[in-house]
């Protein structure tokens, strides 16, 4: 069969592979962020393709806040075993020592310490000069502004008003000592592209994306899954089983479930097409204030 034109997904895939290879060829100590979600699953799949038959030539880093869904952790460990990549797990030990949690300290302080600070610790400890992430430009307004190769100063901060020009596919990968690069290979993918790719390539994802009866409590209109007994229940509050699923995954106390019957990929794609809300609606940490993502990114968040 003679191929004359790449499909939309084939073109996106090839672009992402090119970016991943450029990272491997240009940096001394790259690392790939692995958040276990669907975007990370796609990123991992692309990295396997980019370097085949070699193994992925850099480690994967998971910042474990200790409040991830149990199914995420199980999926992470199984995936690492199946594909044999080098997995680095990092938890902010100071935060654990101080008992930082989203209930007593608020979502924004918890996120800062257990995610942003933890990430900076891990990046400093590994002396990584490039960190690959699965962020997409269609997710959020400040992400829509970011370069594929996004420069960070020595304190991991993004200067959105002074980004390097990025022409064609010629990426400036050069850094001064202490500086680093955040690299986003799937910048130009949409949420729909991600799901259709997962479907077309049969990529394994965490089962939490599929609808199933799960124990939830409803707080201010958000369904929170009771994943373990650390979630404090208000007097009289009892978890009830509801058929729900998740559009995005993170820390279980901060991630809203949606009521859904979509138990397989075709149903999820259909459901998403009919949806009138964005995927980040379920993320409690992004909606604190207008521009909150930009602020977090300037502080070093992905």
């Amino acid at each position: 069969m003679t191929l004359n034109r790449l499909t939309h997904l084939q073109a996106l895939e090839a672009e992402s592979i090119e970016v991943l290879r450029e990272v491997a060829a240009s940096f001394e100590r790259p690392v790939m962020m692995y958040s276990i979600g669907k975007d990370s699953s796609v990123l991992l799949h692309l990295a396997r393709k980019a370097f085949y038959p070699s193994k992925i030539p850099f480690p994967l880093l998971h910042v474990d806040t200790t409040f991830k869904f149990k199914e995420m952790i199980a999926f992470r460990d199984q995936t690492a075993e199946d594909y044999g990549f080098d997995l680095i797990r990092h938890t902010n030990a100071d935060g654990v020592r101080d008992g930082i949690n989203p209930f007593d300290h608020g979502s924004s302080r918890y996120t800062d310490i257990m995610k942003t600070q933890a990430l900076r610790q891990a990046l400093n400890a590994g002396r990584y000069d490039a960190a690959i992430g699965g962020a997409r430009r269609d997710e959020e307004k400040s992400r829509a502004k970011e370069r594929v190769f996004s420069h960070r100063n020595a304190s991991h901060a993004w200067d959105p008003k002074n980004q390097r020009p990025e022409l064609w596919r010629v990426f400036n990968t050069r850094l001064n000592p202490g500086e680093s690069m955040r690299v986003f290979p799937i910048s130009n993918w949409t949420e729909l592209d991600v799901w259709t790719y997962i479907y077309a390539e049969n990529i394994p994802i965490v089962p939490l994306y599929f609808a199933k009866p799960r124990p939830v409590v409803e707080r201010s209109g958000t369904l929170i899954m009771v994943d373990d007994d650390r979630l404090p229940l208000a007097p009289g509050e009892t978890p009830r089983l509801e058929t729900v699923r998740f559009r995005t995954l993170g820390c279980y106390p901060l991630t809203g479930a949606i009521r859904s019957e979509a138990a397989d990929l075709p149903s999820i794609i259909m459901e998403m097409q009919a949806s009138r809300t964005s995927e980040r609606e379920g993320r409690l940490i992004d909606s604190d204030s207008v521009g909150s993502m930009e602020k977090k990114k300037q502080e070093g968040y992905f």
Partner: protein, 628 residues
């Protein structure tokens, strides 16, 4: 409505196939500040039902106290994603937005209008197929309209739609639209756009966006979205000359050595002959490897790993091509350059140049001219300031493989990087190589007489001594050679002794043989000068015609004719080899000055008077005259 929602009763695979078959159009919006670029994109997203309920709710909240349309929304808030942008109501950097209709998928780059952020506009334009160039109907063409048009042309955007926005604010007046369109067509006629359409719209009110506006019955063209859905911009990249820039050497174990990269142009099939552009080393394609299995062929845009049939030296930055259509390979080229830094571009300054996967030091050797973005006129310049565009020549520390940007943007576009701060300073598009290398072998292409002579620290040249036997030619030439050699120059003397006994021993002393003698000596002198030497030729060369021939053979090599003018009596009195004596005795026939004439040079560069001065003084005089 331009939505494409799947319904639950649609067959998913059929629907996915339709999605897959859709083509993708990447376009940008550009134009001057306040021409309504962000509002237009917001309108496109809103009309394609891509603004979701939670986003809409937060937009309505933020739109308070702003200019809003009938929907109660300030659409620009959808794309201005940075806090500073929302505060100042301007766009600083490119925002990328995604939408699709039944017919097409779109990626939009919303680029800033302020001159200060032109580099961000260039960033957005560099990956776009088409540009929406916005003009405020009340203001007409502005400097930024022209600047952006020129940059579109520079980075090779071939399709432009002139969007005359805010037409509602001039009462939907056709005369205003017609005048702006005519002005723009006149300005853009030399910018090389393949298609240019003009549409009058109101992004705020939705006129001529999705559907034809009833308020402008005079407009016969297509509304914006249907135009974007229909226009054919695809350039068939599979048809051109094959280019494969090697990005990463794939070596999982001793048994596998592959070259990973993306096919930049053309098509490749297993079994094809390829060449490494730099070394010209040949190989055949043994395998095209992907994780999904080996392929028989690969086309432009595919990311693959190539395995060759033999071990040749290939590394990151090398470009593979088919024999017969290899890229240019040179260390000098002419390019158009857009400067993106506050610190100007200067002639002679060293930068890092990146093109494809090749990175190397490079110098701007000449700024030929700067182009005025308003008038497109060219003016002399010795530097390029921020946002200025010029035509320059660039020399790299070692040769690189490239194509003209108009032939292949992926192997013809480069960036310049600051060697200290590592900032991206400028972007350029190669026009042509300054040394034609395609048809020559790698080893010989750029080593010429100048290069060889420069290695010796001298100018290659020929000094041709003419005069009677015994006039002192060889003595002076020897003294000059000693002096130059002592100074580290590389000289060689050609005279009767070392030529007549070898190269020319078959020649006698007839007139024809004398002519041939001089011709051969002149050719040898030329070869030696071509090797970078200073050649001192000491021959009687009595005939004006032969000396002229020698000068012609030398061509562009510096040629100094030195006439050692020594009277016959003096020469014959010296008679260092006893030749005059033998000639007078009749043992030698056709002896110059006796029974064969010496034609005095009509126009020698220098005359040395051998009868009245010592050879040392004459050698000094010649040395001073030559200024070697």
């Amino acid at each position: 409505m331009i939505s494409d929602l799947a319904t639950p009763d649609t067959d998913l695979d059929l629907w996915l196939a339709q999605q897959t078959d859709k083509s993708l159009l990447r376009f940008l919006t550009c134009g001057s500040v306040d021409d309504g670029k962000s509002t237009l994109i917001g309108r496109l997203l809103y009309d394609s039902q891509l603004i979701l309920d939670d986003q809409l709710a937060s937009l309505r909240k933020e739109s308070h106290n702003r200019t809003v349309g009938e929907e109660g929304i300030d659409f620009s808030l959808l794309v201005d994603g940075l806090a500073a942008e929302r505060e100042q109501g301007i766009t600083i950097d490119v925002a990328y937005r995604f939408f699709s209709t039944d017919k097409r998928k779109f990626i939009v780059a919303d680029t800033p209008g302020h001159e200060q952020y032109t580099r961000n506009m260039a960033t957005g334009a560099s990956n776009a197929d088409l540009a929406l160039l916005l003009v405020d109907a009340r203001k007409g063409l502005l400097t930024q309209t022209r600047r952006h048009s020129f940059i579109l042309s520079l980075v090779g955007v071939k399709h432009v739609v002139l969007v005359v926005n805010k037409i509602d604010l001039v009462g939907y007046d056709q005369a205003v639209f017609d005048r702006i369109e005519a002005d723009y067509r006149a300005f853009a006629k030399d910018l090389g756009f393949q298609t240019l359409a003009a549409v009058p719209v109101s992004a705020l009110r939705g006129d001529n966006i999705v559907e034809k506006s009833e308020r402008m019955p005079w407009f016969a063209g297509s509304p914006l979205v249907p135009y974007l859905e229909a226009i054919e911009v695809a350039q068939d990249r599979t048809q051109g000359a094959f280019r494969f820039p090697v990005q990463w050497v794939n070596r999982p174990n001793l048994d596998f050595r592959g070259f990973s990269g993306t096919v930049a142009w053309g098509r490749l099939t297993v079994g094809d002959d390829v060449l490494v552009a730099a070394s010209r080393k040949p190989a055949k394609i043994a395998r095209i490897v992907t994780m999904d299995g080996d392929l028989d062929s690969a086309i432009a845009g595919q990311a693959v790993t190539l395995v060759l049939d033999r071990e040749i030296d290939v590394s990151r930055g090398d470009v593979l091509a088919h024999p017969g259509s290899v890229p240019d390979y040179s260390n000098q080229f002419q390019a158009r350059l857009i400067w993106m830094n506050d610190e100007p571009a200067f002639q002679g300054r060293s930068y890092l140049l990146k093109i494809g996967a090749q990175v190397m030091p490079a110098t701007i050797t000449d700024i030929k001219f700067r182009t005025n973005v308003n008038t497109l006129e060219q003016a002399a310049a010795n530097k390029l300031d921020l946002n200025e565009v010029g035509t320059v020549t660039i020399a790299t520390d070692r040769p690189l493989a490239f194509d003209a940007y108009t032939t292949n943007p992926l192997t013809g576009g480069f960036i310049l990087i600051d060697r200290l701060s590592n900032a991206t300073l400028g972007a350029g598009t190669i026009e042509f190589g300054l040394r034609r290398a395609q048809n020559l072998t790698y080893q010989s292409f750029d080593v010429d007489r100048q290069v060889r002579a420069k290695m010796k620290g001298q100018e290659a040249q020929i000094v041709w001594f003419t005069g009677l036997s015994g006039s002192g030619k060889s003595t002076i030439a020897n003294l000059l050679e000693k002096r130059l050699t002592a100074e580290g120059r590389h000289c060689y003397i050609l005279d009767g002794d070392n030529v007549r006994h070898g190269l020319n021993k078959d020649l006698g002393f007839t007139e024809a043989a004398r002519v041939e003698n001089i011709r051969r000596v002149a050719e040898v002198a030329k070869l030696m000068a071509d090797a970078g030497l200073i050649v001192l030729v000491s021959f009687i060369s009595p005939f004006e015609n032969e000396r002229r021939l020698a000068r012609e053979i030398a061509g562009d090599i510096r040629f100094t004719e030195v006439y050692v003018d020594t009277p016959l009596e003096v020469a014959e009195a010296r008679d260092p080899k006893g030749l005059y004596k033998r000639a007078r005795a009749g043992e030698i026939k056709n002896f110059t000055g006796l029974d064969s004439p010496f034609e005095r040079p009509g126009n020698p560069e220098l005359v040395l008077h051998g009868g009245t001065h010592e050879p040392e003084a004459l050698a000094d005089e010649l040395y001073g005259w030559l200024k070697i």
